[in-house]
Structures are given as structure tokens and as C-alpha cells.
Amino acid sequence: MGMQSQDIIRRSATNGLTPLPQARSHEQEVAKLIDVSLCTGCKGCQVACSEWNDLRDEVGHNVGVYDNPANLSAETWTVIRFDEREDEAGKLEWLLRKEGCMHCAEPGCLKACPSPGAILQFANGIVDFQSEQCIGCGYCIAGCPFDIPRINPKDNRAYKCTLCADRVAVGQEPACVKTCPTGAISFGSKAEMKDLAATRVEELKGRGHDGAGLYDPAGVGGTHVMYVLTHADQPSLYHRLPDSPHISPVVRGWKEWLKPVGALGFIATLAGAFVHYMGVGANTTDETPPDEPEKELEDAGQGPNDNGRDA
């Protein structure tokens, strides 16, 4: 849904020469901070997300792990990941992470999207899909460094966490934040959340979690969903959370390099053809009877047909 009350700073497939709506310039960057060390895996956030967003995914099957549903889908925008790990001392750790859209400052989905206005980035940091503009090509899936967007087979549109843009627009925190019973999820301005994270990281370090730290990856310009990780030095322990996420160079090459080269190719080809035509003129055929130089044809196909030539 269009968030009319918020500034748009990026719009998919839209030429930068035409400015986006930006009269209201007081927006503060927001962020959701997920402290994995406080998460108990209750899945209350999943339920709150489904409830607020009116999502009712099909009931799946227990596949022997706690992740339930087993994966994100067009109707499951967040899911708790449960990863078991034995550390060097043989001590078992259960690493929980609430997975969902990270709301990157440099969103790969938006870069890849070919449909004007199907993905918007607001000045407060929220990256939101505009379902009615979505054409269902799935390029956002290829563009995302976190493997988040999902196409709904029912309507061929891409979906993901909106960071409850509709709630945030009216001054509320996202549904998952409101519902989390352990306080593992916080919401506020990005600056506040970074301060909160710093405090929490200090506490964790004081308790022996030397690797504790904030996950706010610079490769995508920082994110508006951040994690406090107990193993911030190894994010990939948390269900393959990318260690250094960035928009793939292939996607960048496709969108940033090939596009201007292709445009130049078109201009050069069309201009070249036009100049050639102006310089050389049409390549016409002289339909009058051939004279001496053609003699080497030994009259092949000529003699008997001379009378038909003008017809």
C-alpha cells in the first residue's frame, strides 16, 4: 500500500532524472533491532505478523526441525530459524534467529525490479513492495542478497515483510515488536537502536560472549532490521545469515553497466545505419539488359528471357 505520509527516496525502474515526492523531509530513519540472545523461539512474532497482515499460510508438515513453517513464503513473512551448533569445547548451542526482510539501505530487490514503482524505499528506511504494480517476474528474488522475497503462486506477485509500514506510518511499532514477550525485538529510530545494541553488546561481552556484536552490514549500506548476535564474527552460523551481504556484481553489471552500454549500442546501430544510407544511398538493381561485362555469364539465363525483362 502506498504510504502517502512518507517520503519516497527510491522507486524501482524509475529514472533518477525525475525527482520523487520529497516535500516532507523530516522523516527519521527507523530500525528494528532483534536481539537473538533474548529470543526463546516462541514464534509469537510469526503469529502477530500473520494476524496484523491478514496472512493465513497453509498449515505445513513437521519435517523434524523446529522451523515452522519450514521456510518463508508469500504468506509467511517472518520465520524463526533454529540452528544447532557445537562449539570448539563440544558445548551445544541453539542459535535462534527471526528471519525476514532486512530493509537494506541499498536494496537489491529494488535495483533488480523492472516494474516502475513496484518497490519503494521510504525516507524512514522501509522498503515496501507495491503489490498492484508487481508484474510477478521474480527479479527481486534474484536481486535480494538475503533470499527473502517470495512469489505467491495464487496471484503471481512478490511478497515480503513490510516492516508494518502501515503501522509505522501512524506511529506504531511493527506487530512482531509489539507482541514479543521477551523483549527480544525493539523498534525506534535507527540511532536509538544502535545505542541500545551497543549497550546490549557490552552486557553480552561482559558475560563471556566475546564475539557479540551488532549486525548492520555495510555492504548493503546498513539495514533497517538489525541483529544483536552473540557470534557477530560468524553471522553465517545463524542459518546462513550472509557474512558480508552485498548486491551481487552480476546484478550490478546487468543494471548499472549493461544498461548504458545497451543504450549506446542502440544509438550507434541506428545512427550508423542512417549515416550509411545517407552516404551510400539505396542499393538498387539495374534492371536494363546487361551489356558486355556480363558476357562471362555465357548468356546464362538471358537469351531466352530477354523479352520478359521489362514485364
Binding site: 524501482s12 525502474a13 524509475t14 529514472n15 533488480a112 523492472p114 516494474s115 516502475p116 504494480q133 508487481c134 508484474i135 510477478g136 517476474c137 521474480g138 527479479y139 528474488i141 534474484a142 533470499d147 512469489i151 503462486p153 503471481n156 551481487s248 552480476v250 546484478v251 546487468w254 549493461l258 544498461k259 545497451g262 543504450a263 549500442g265 542502440f266 546501430t269 541506428l270 545505419a273 550509411h276 544510407y277 551510400v280 544511398g281 539505396a282 542499393n283 538498387t284 538493381t285 539495374d286 534492371e287 546487361p290 561485362p293 556480363e294 562471362e296 555469364l297 555465357e298 548468356d299 546464362a300 539465363g301 537469351g303 531466352p304 528471357n305 520478359g308 525483362r309 521489362d310 514485364a311
Partner: protein, 217 residues
């Protein structure tokens, strides 16, 4: 045709393959460009609203591929490179500058047309394979995301290259008078055939007339 000045250059079935492929190709190419150059978004409306264009583009792409494969079977034996193509390459400047006169031993298709033929056939194959890989509704889910990214890039590169080749092909048709009519009616004049495809004319057309003398086998 009943006109002995005209010779049949392209049979009806081949013309039908060509022009039906052209119709589908135009729609696929314009919609594809609408996504590659979002500023040209309006081009996609040749296939209706953007969502519908996204649905139709791959199916029409398959039609283009299938028709081109039919054309491949029909045309490939005329497009194998032969020694005399070197003559054409040596005289490329004369060819482009409209300097006629020399006999360049050009068969049914000249060397440039053969390059176009193989370019189109290889690019459409690449577009077909990469297009299936990025077809989100049916196949993209079977490929890892990094592979899909490469397929997207390959699809864009091949699509651009093919469209530029086709622009060149269209220009040649406009430049060389008589060739578009030849592809529509199938017939070209004897003089046209001698001027642009001398060896083809001598070997395939002239011998049908009761004339002895030299043959090129």
C-alpha cells in the same frame, strides 16, 4: 508467376515461417525492452498491461524459438560457410559502398547473411535456455539464485545483441531494394539475383534454362 524475369528465391512455407516469427519476435522484443529500459516502459503495452505482458512474453519467446528452429532446418544448408565467402569478405568495403560489378561468387546467402544466420540461431538458443531458467512461474525455482542472476544477465546480453542484429537485418532489407519484396512475394528479378547472389544465380537458377557452357558444380 508467369513472369520469366522473376525467379523464386524463398518458398511460401519459408516465408510463412519468417513472417510469423517476425510477428512474435516484435512483441517479445518490445516487451523485453520495456523491462530492460524502464524509461521505455510503454513499449511493453504491445502485450497489454504489464502483468499480462510478463505472462505472454515467455510463451511468445518459445514460439520465436520454435519457428527459428524450423527455419534453421530449412535454411542451414544455404548458410554453411564456403571458401568463396572469403571473396565477399575481401570486398566488404565495395559491398558496403554500393560498388557493384565484380563477381563475388556469392551463393544463395552472402557471408554477412551467414553471420547473421548463425548469430540469430545461437542468440535465440541462449535466450531460450536462459529464459527458461529465469521463468519464475515454472522453472526459476529449480535453479540456485546465483545461477538465476547469471541467466538474467545472459538473457539481457543476448536479447540486446539479437535486437541489434535484427535492426541491422532490417536495415539491409531497406537498403538493398527488392529484398523485402522478395521475402514477401518470394520472387526477385533475375538482375537482382545476378547482382547480389551471382553464384546462386548461375548454379541454381540459370541451369534450369536450356544452356550449356560452364557450371560450377
Amino acid at each position: 508467376m508467369g513472369n520469366s524475369n522473376l525467379v523464386l528465391r524463398t518458398k511460401l512455407i519459408d516465408r510463412m515461417f519468417h513472417w510469423s516469427m517476425v510477428s512474435c519476435f516484435m512483441l517479445v522484443a518490445l516487451s523485453g525492452l520495456s523491462w530492460f529500459f524502464p524509461s521505455l516502459n510503454w513499449l511493453g503495452y504491445v502485450l497489454g498491461p504489464p502483468q499480462l505482458a510478463r505472462v505472454l512474453h515467455p510463451f511468445l519467446g518459445i514460439a520465436v524459438f520454435a519457428l527459428l528452429m524450423c527455419m534453421f532446418v530449412r535454411f542451414v544448408h544455404h548458410n554453411l560457410f564456403v571458401r568463396t565467402d572469403l571473396t565477399w569478405f575481401r570486398h566488404i568495403a565495395d559491398v558496403l559502398l554500393n560498388k557493384h560489378g565484380q563477381k563475388l561468387q556469392i551463393g544463395k546467402y552472402n557471408a554477412g547473411q551467414k553471420i547473421l544466420f548463425w548469430g540469430i540461431m545461437s542468440l535465440i538458443s541462449l535466450l531460450f535456455v536462459s529464459g527458461l531458467m529465469i521463468w519464475r512461474a515454472y522453472f526459476a525455482g529449480f535453479f540456485p539464485i546465483p545461477v538465476v542472476r547469471l541467466a538474467l544477465l545472459a538473457h539481457s546480453v543476448a536479447g540486446l545483441a539479437l535486437i541489434l542484429l535484427v535492426i541491422g537485418h532490417i536495415y539491409m532489407g531497406i537498403w538493398v531494394r527488392g529484398s523485402i519484396g522478395g521475402m514477401v512475394s518470394g520472387y526477385v528479378s533475375r538482375a537482382w539475383a545476378r547482382q547480389h547472389h551471382d553464384r546462386w544465380y548461375e548454379e541454381e537458377i540459370a541451369p534450369t534454362k536450356p544452356l550449356p557452357s560452364k557450371r560450377h558444380g
